[in-house]
């Protein structure tokens, strides 16, 4: 009998198209200039991290996404999360709120309070943050086309709590361009939407210096199917678009670049993701320094939340997602992120249960306190493979950015549907590979369990929430000073029609208890609505 031949190693090609060898050595990184390409943590080009001591000094911020039903219910969950040791909040709004519709809008009918909390007026946000010391936490407001309105409401809440704006910390997601690519909560056409982002940046740089006015989300682009390289490249092209908008207003790059935040995804091949983040940090530093002539090193730092990982979770054998979450958290920690959040194990099919949310939080805490992730900075730095791969990823990201710029830039790419097409095709290719078994997903195409119990616990949806919310809206409309509301809205319309920054008029409107829907309608009248290209 013949002895079976030893198996040839399988050819490894990463999602980003990079071919990986079985063994790496010094020869693979001999051309890499340590000082120029890797350097010290906290120093240009920041490959190893944006702070000299990173987690040795302070662990990453842990910020789970949450919010559902009414402001009161959400307020309870916020307090509970803070009691459990979470250090920041990430607010989920329902779809009508995210799209600037009031709870009594016919289009909102089935969606009030479903995937997040419903906000119609300032009163709702006041309730959501009741008895929560705003000056002690940082809050992420996950909202995009009407981020200006939600920021105004948050600042009004702070004011009512007696907290000066310069002590308010947080982030508005406020990244409209990625909404056109994935996630889909867009309202207005591209150009006026970018103007609104510029208004928020300008306003924050002058009035709310500790607030991140936007967070560019490669995350949702990746979740929509993009490769890790596309995720980074498109996010950078989006950020460049916003920077150009703000520079037009006469602000200097160093006036605001240090407040730019990013949001990236963590599922997929561990090494590829870690290299993606290290390459991204290096490339972003170079772009801000060389293209925009920033002088302040802080402007050049890629500040980010690396989290989520929803795209990697499976409906099948959902408890496996707890394990995936732990590995994704490891990716996030090795990436040198500032903030971490994890999709919970049940999030592939529902809003996380309390138990699932707690497991996610504990996963991150275990990593920070038990596993040595805070012992030394960038522990994978210097690995032949990681440094080689970081370099390869950087080249690929640059190539992908060039492709976008060659077809006319990000705005044109979105208006024509080019970017959406690239991403949806990639999603299709990946799904085909999973269904053919070429890409392994445990429980989906390998180790599948036939007798699997598929019924799981779903977040209960309370249809009474909508009724309650509509009643509340009616009441506040009856109580407010209509004259004041009308004047505020007229002032807002004038500002929107001119080049005036809309933030002050928006603030005036929210303080008069004008509704989110009323304010959005003014913008619609002036700006019109986005016409979606096919994008297949």
């Amino acid at each position: 009998m013949k002895k079976p031949k030893p198996e040839e190693p399988k050819e490894v090609i990463l999602e980003s198209g990079i071919k990986v060898k079985p063994v790496y050595g010094p020869e693979d990184i001999q051309d890499l200039d340590f000082e120029k390409k890797i350097g010290q943590p906290g120093e240009y080009p920041f490959t190893r991290g944006i702070h000299p001591l990173m987690y040795c000094q302070r662990p990453w911020t842990m910020r789970q996404y949450s919010g559902f039903g009414t402001a009161k219910e959400t307020n309870q969950r916020f307090k509970w999360l803070l009691e459990q040791g979470q250090t920041a909040l990430n607010v989920a709004f329902d779809l009508p709120t995210q799209l600037g519709l009031d709870s009594d809008d016919p289009l909102a009918e089935e969606e009030v309070g479903r995937v997040g909390m419903a906000i119609d007026t300032l009163q709702d946000l006041e309730e959501a943050f009741a008895d929560i010391p705003i000056e002690k936490i940082s809050t992420s407001l996950t909202i995009n086309p009407v981020a200006s309105v939600m920021l105004a409401m948050y600042l009004a809440v702070a004011e009512k709590q007696g907290i000066p704006w310069d002590q308010v910390r947080g982030t508005t997601q406020n990244d409209i361009l990625k909404e056109y690519i994935g996630r889909g909560t867009w309202i207005f056409p591209v150009e006026p939407s970018i103007r609104l982002i510029g208004d928020v940046v300008e306003f924050c740089s002058q009035n709310v210096p500790k607030f991140n006015p936007f967070s560019v989300c490669g995350y949702h682009i990746r979740e929509s199917g993009a490769t890790p390289v596309q995720e980074m490249a498109y996010a950078f092209e989006i950020a460049i678009t916003y920077i150009q908008e703000v520079l037009k207003r006469g602000l200097g790059i160093d006036d605001f670049a240090g407040r730019i935040a990013f949001n990236f995804d963590i599922y997929g091949n561990l090494w590829e993701q870690v290299a993606k983040f290290r390459a991204g940090r290096r490339l972003w530093a170079k772009i801000v320094k060389e293209r925009f002539n920033a002088q302040n090193p802080r402007s050049m730092t890629l500040r980010m939340i690396a989290g989520g990982g929803g795209g990697g979770l499976t409906v099948q054998q959902p408890e496996n997602n707890i394990v995936r979450g732990a590995y994704y958290a490891l990716i996030s920690a090795l990436s040198g992120t500032q903030t971490m959040a994890l999709c919970s194990y049940d999030e592939a099919y529902t809003i996380p249960s309390k138990k699932a949310a707690l497991i996610s939080l504990r996963t991150m805490q275990i990593l920070a306190d038990e596993m040595g992730l805070r012992d030394t900075v960038d522990p994978v730095g210097g690995s032949y493979y990681i440094e080689w791969l970081t370099d390869e990823m950087e080249k690929k990201i640059e190539e992908c950015m060039e492709k976008v710029e060659n077809q006319g830039g990000m705005v044109k790419g979105i208006e024509s549907g080019y970017i959406q097409g690239e991403v949806s095709r990639q999603a299709y290719i990946r799904e085909r590979k999973i269904q053919s078994g070429e890409v392994t997903k445990i429980g989906v195409n390998k180790y599948v369990m036939k007798e699997e119990k598929t019924e799981v616990e779903y977040h209960p949806f309370n249809p009474e929430v909508a009724e309650e919310q509509r009643k509340k809206l009616k009441k506040i409309k009856a109580q407010r000073n209509e004259n004041e509301v009308r004047q505020a809205l007229a002032g807002l319309k004038k500002a929107a029609q001119s080049k005036e920054n809309v933030m002050h008029p928006v603030l005036k409107a929210v303080k008069s208890y004008a509704t989110l829907g009323e304010i959005t309608r003014i913008f619609k009248e002036v700006f019109g609505e986005f016409r979606e290209p096919i994008g297949l």
């Binding site: 289009l107 969606e111 889909g184 099919y349 529902t350 269904q435 979606e532």
Partner: protein, 140 residues
Amino acid sequence: MKKKNSSGEKRIRVVIAKPGLDGHDTGAKVVAHALKDAGMEVIYTGLHRTIEEIVNTAVDEDADVIGLSIYSGAHLPLSKKLMDRLKEMGVTDKLVLVGGNIPQRDIEALKSYGVTEVFPVGARLDDIVEFIRKKAGLKK
């Protein structure tokens, strides 16, 4: 009835629709790619469509199939509304498929509204293609 094979045969026409406010369109687009690959004519409505708009598109486009994609949890009321609207307009010749984040326990209710078949997250693309070929082919 047998499926015709002549080259002059009308291709199966599918409207892939995103009703309501939910913006998760990756699944809808992946299915659209798969149906196109299988030689079908796909009309994608884009996001934030009302049920009226979707039904009108399906009628105007002379679609054989309407595919609803819903991830927000509002699949029961939205599908009910669609089926009611079709009935109201006397449209009975269209297959209605629902996909997305659909719990097992809701499938029966959806079918009781008149939905032809449900393909929740995890459904195989080839199964969707085959199902449409078989059912829409039978109608012709």
